[in-house]
């Protein structure tokens, strides 16, 4: 293999990922220290752009609301696995960060009187579960687009340094201190070392390991496996959210905002089946509850179509005017991907893999932490994480709609502040280790030198099909044991994978193959975590253990990677003590 140049850059703060979390952090840090962002895609192509329905905050613009109700809903939504100090921080800070976004220029929809428009959303209630409340602050159904573009605009104004189309390959550590990242220049080829005082991962979610998914092509969870490969752990990966309303056959999301505006689900008999599963809020129950109800209906032969494998989402009764005004993006998606005019006919939908509750463990300051059942959590020096790639954990076993855009802004900002302060306190850079980046450069050089017939797609296809079948909405000991073997086998096949493209310039073949390596690595943690967890909680539903078991399983899973690629599990307690209010103790979850 020919020599490939290595270029070295120095920035006080380095952020990997230019979605909402990364940009909010960059904006904050750049006000104080030299800050750079690297991203695999141009910032506005990040997945945050797809978010539709809204961002949760108890502004109370439409009806009275209260951050404590929001906190209760979030704790309950998390099936009591969320950390209550972080959740209090999230919900209390929400109104402030949303107002701040408006001040930055985010074009929220408005109500009479000129305040921000808010709509109902699943799991968000008033007065501790009494009835649904308008808490989702929205810009039509393009909230993510407006949020990402607004943050990017502000970053341009603040002169943040962007390295677009750079792909992170390895976390660089000097002993126990994270000192930067090795990356690949996608456009021109070549290695780049980013030497930093503080490094944040804001690399997004991991649901591309499932066939039916609402997620972008790039959501391959690279940040998780890079963390595992650096000898650190990841948390609660077995908790994957299946959103109830993905477009049948395509997986693209139809926002819960449709049900928030008054749309509802029907089975093949035309029944509103949600009334039996969630007698109080019906279609606006938490996502795990609705997805399971749909799957249950289909199992009992009440699904629609020849194969009985989808449900109908009816919204035409809302009227064409409201749909075009508040749900224009949904009209487009239904038209393009389902050939349906949703002002006239219902949209065929099935559950779709949507959100990664698990991620890189952090505390409420976005500092990456390591702990265990008897060791209190300790920050990893110089390392931060925020957004969907992190696990704070504010979403526990199931995330509420609109809490993720909130999460990325709250913890992005907090992490930005903490990194700037840490970088300023550090004085000198901690030096790079000897042989910095040897692992990542070898990975790329080896792939560029491969010959052989095994291609990434044939492996990936098996992975995403079997993950969906064996580790999806329903799981059992049997399916998970089978899946563990399948993933191990795929990892063996991956060792002989070859790429066609050997060039330095825009080598997508190389990138996708690297990404498959990441997906295989952390899939093992998803499956092992799910197999070990003999209970049902939030997004993790075991047919063979259908009840939540707080005695044995009220704890977070941690996964470490062994040198042979296998996973070692450990656990740590849930942080039950909020900052200023009494704990919400675990209760049965009914909607």
């Amino acid at each position: 293999m020919a020599n490939i140049d290595v270029t070295i850059h120095k920035h006080d703060v380095l952020i990997v990922g230019a979605g909402g979390a990364g940009l909010r952090a960059a904006l904050e840090a750049s006000r104080q220290v030299n800050t750079a962002v690297i991203s695999q895609v141009y910032p506005t192509r990040s997945h945050t752009v797809s978010a539709q329905g809204g961002i949760a905050a108890s502004l109370g613009n439409v009806e009275p609301d209260n951050w404590l109700w929001h906190m209760f809903d979030t704790v309950k939504g998390s099936d009591y696995l969320g950390d209550q100090d972080a959740i209090e921080f999230l919900c209390r800070t929400a109104p402030e960060v949303v107002i701040e976004l408006e001040h930055m220029g985010l074009p929220f929809s408005r109500i009479e009187g000129g305040t921000i428009f808010q709509r109902r959303f699943g799991g968000h209630t008033k007065d501790y579960g009494k009835e649904a409340v308008c808490r989702a602050c929205a810009a039509a159904d393009r909230t993510g687009h407006t949020l990402l573009h607004t943050l990017f605009e502000q970053c341009i104004k603040n002169g943040v340094a962007f390295y677009n189309e750079f792909f992170a390959l390895e976390i660089l550590k000097n002993e126990d201190h994270v000192v930067g990242v090795l990356a690949w220049d996608i456009v021109h080829g070549g290695f780049h070392i980013f030497h930093s005082k503080a490094t944040m991962f804001a690399t997004g979610g991991y649901t591309r390991v499932y066939r039916t998914t609402s997620n972008a092509h790039i959501n391959t969870g690279d940040g998780l496996s890079l963390t595992l490969r650096a000898g650190l752990c990841v948390e609660d990966l077995e908790f994957v959210q299946f959103h109830p309303t993905g477009i049948y056959g395509a997986g693209n999301l139809i926002t819960e905002g449709v049900r928030g505006e008054g749309g509802y689900l029907l089975n093949k008999n035309g029944d509103r089946f949600m009334k039996t599963y969630a007698p109080t809020v019906w279609d606006l129950a938490s996502r795990d509850v609705v997805s399971r109800a749909m799957a249950e209906e289909m199992r009992h032969g009440r699904g629609c179509g020849e194969k009985g494998d989808f449900m109908l989402l009816k919204l035409d009764h809302l009227g064409a005017d409201l749909i075009h005004e508040r749900l224009p993006g949904i009209w487009d998606l239904a038209h393009v991907f389902a050939h349906v005019d949703c002002t006239k006919e219902p949209i065929p939908v099935t559950p779709t893999a949507h959100y990664s509750m698990g991620g890189i463990p952090t505390n409420r300051f976005a500092e990456v932490v390591i702990g265990s059942m008897d060791q209190p959590e300790q920050p990893v020096k110089g390392f931060y994480a925020a957004g969907e790639s992190a696990c704070a954990s504010v979403h526990g076993a199931n995330r509420l709609g609109c809490n993720s855009l909130l999460d990325i802004v709250v913890f992005g900002r907090e992490g930005g502040r903490k990194m700037a302060a840490f970088a300023a306190s550090l004085g000198e850079y901690v030096p790079l280790p000897d042989q910095a980046g040897a692992m990542g450069t070898a990975e790329v050089k080896n792939l560029l030198a491969t010959t052989g017939k095994e291609r990434m797609d044939s492996i990936w296809e098996v992975l995403r099909d079997t993950m969906e079948k064996n580790c999806g909405v329903f799981r059992t000991e049997e399916t998970l044991t089978a899946q563990k073997q399948i993933v191990e086998q795929l990892c063996r096949r991956f060792k002989t994978v070859a790429i066609d493209d050997k060039s330095m310039t825009y080598n997508l073949d190389l990138l996708e193959t690297l990404e498959l390596g990441h997906m295989l690595d952390f899939s093992r943690a998803i499956v092992d975590g799910a197999l070990a967890r003999q209970e049902s909680r939030g997004g993790h539903y075991r047919d063979d253990y259908p009840k939540r078991d707080d005695v044995t399983w009220h704890k977070h899973s941690l996964a470490y990677q062994e040198p042979d690629g296998s996973i070692r599990l450990d656990y740590k307690p849930v942080r039950m003590k909020p900052l200023t209010v009494p704990t919400f103790p675990p209760k049965e979850r009914v909607y």
């Binding site: 192509r45 997945h47 810009a139 341009i156 797609d457 493209d501 997508l508």
Partner: protein, 236 residues
């Protein structure tokens, strides 16, 4: 429906001595509703891994995958194969330097965007404890503007931009107008001054290519018309 269609794809790799050329691939129609992006993925995964293109969201909202198909700029991820004439000729966006295959260098496109100060400019501080107020009617003025995904389909279809690479182009101008009409913004003067020169709004000759090219059905020509009107009224 045909069982397969021909994709005739523009290929260029700067590391190979070869000139740009077209390669034909047969794409199997495996299910109804396949998009051009599904076809490109099929080619790369099963036939030829060396093909390069951009993509991310695969649902028409991120703007990564503007390309030229049968002579028209569009997003590969929301263009149905069955709506196209076979053979399907796939090219990079016109008039931009090609990096490889369907991937073009968008540096100039973004530079133009940055030039128009595409961010809220305010003179006074915001209210301390709540949002700035904006009526639903004021907010409505942003519809048809704020949805821009920066895909470059419009600018790269504009004959004025082809003729004069210094021209700001429809996308940058539409984005400038998005802020100028925002009731919260105080930056109209700064922006109009930038736009009111020979490479700004006056380069537009209302040829309307940009409107046809926009996959989000936005109307840059109309925005440019409004800008011209405003400049004239203000007598810069």
């Amino acid at each position: 429906m045909a069982k397969s269609v021909t994709f005739s794809v523009f290929r260029y790799d700067p590391e190979q001595g070869r000139k740009p050329h077209y390669t034909d691939y047969q794409v199997d129609i495996e299910r109804p509703g396949m998009m051009v992006l599904d076809g490109l993925n099929q080619i790369r995964w099963r036939q030829d891994g060396t093909l390069a293109y951009r993509r991310s969201c695969r649902e028409g909202v991120c703007g990564s995958d503007g390309i030229n198909v049968n002579g028209v700029n569009m997003l590969s991820c929301i263009t149905h194969i069955e709506d196209l004439k076979d053979p399907i000729v796939v090219q990079p966006l016109p008039s931009m330097p090609v990096i490889k295959d369907l991937v073009v260098d968008l540096t100039d496109f973004y530079e133009k965007f940055y030039l128009v100060k595409p961010y809220l400019i305010t003179k006074g501080p915001p209210p301390s404890d709540r949002e700035r107020l904006q009526t639903p009617e004021q907010r409505k003025l942003l519809d048809g503007l704020y949805e821009c995904i920066l895909c470059a389909c419009c600018t790269t279809s504009c004959p004025s931009y082809w003729a004069d690479p210094e021209y700001l182009g429809p996308s940058a101008l539409l984005n400038a107008w998005r802020f100028i009409v925002d009731s919260r913004d105080d930056g109209a003067d700064e922006r109009l001054e930038i736009i009111n020169n020979r490479n700004g709004a006056w380069r537009c000759h209302t040829i309307l290519n940009c409107v046809e090219a926009c996959p989000k059905l936005l109307n840059p020509t109309e925005a440019i018309g409004q800008i011209k009107k405003t400049i004239v009224q203000r007598k810069f």
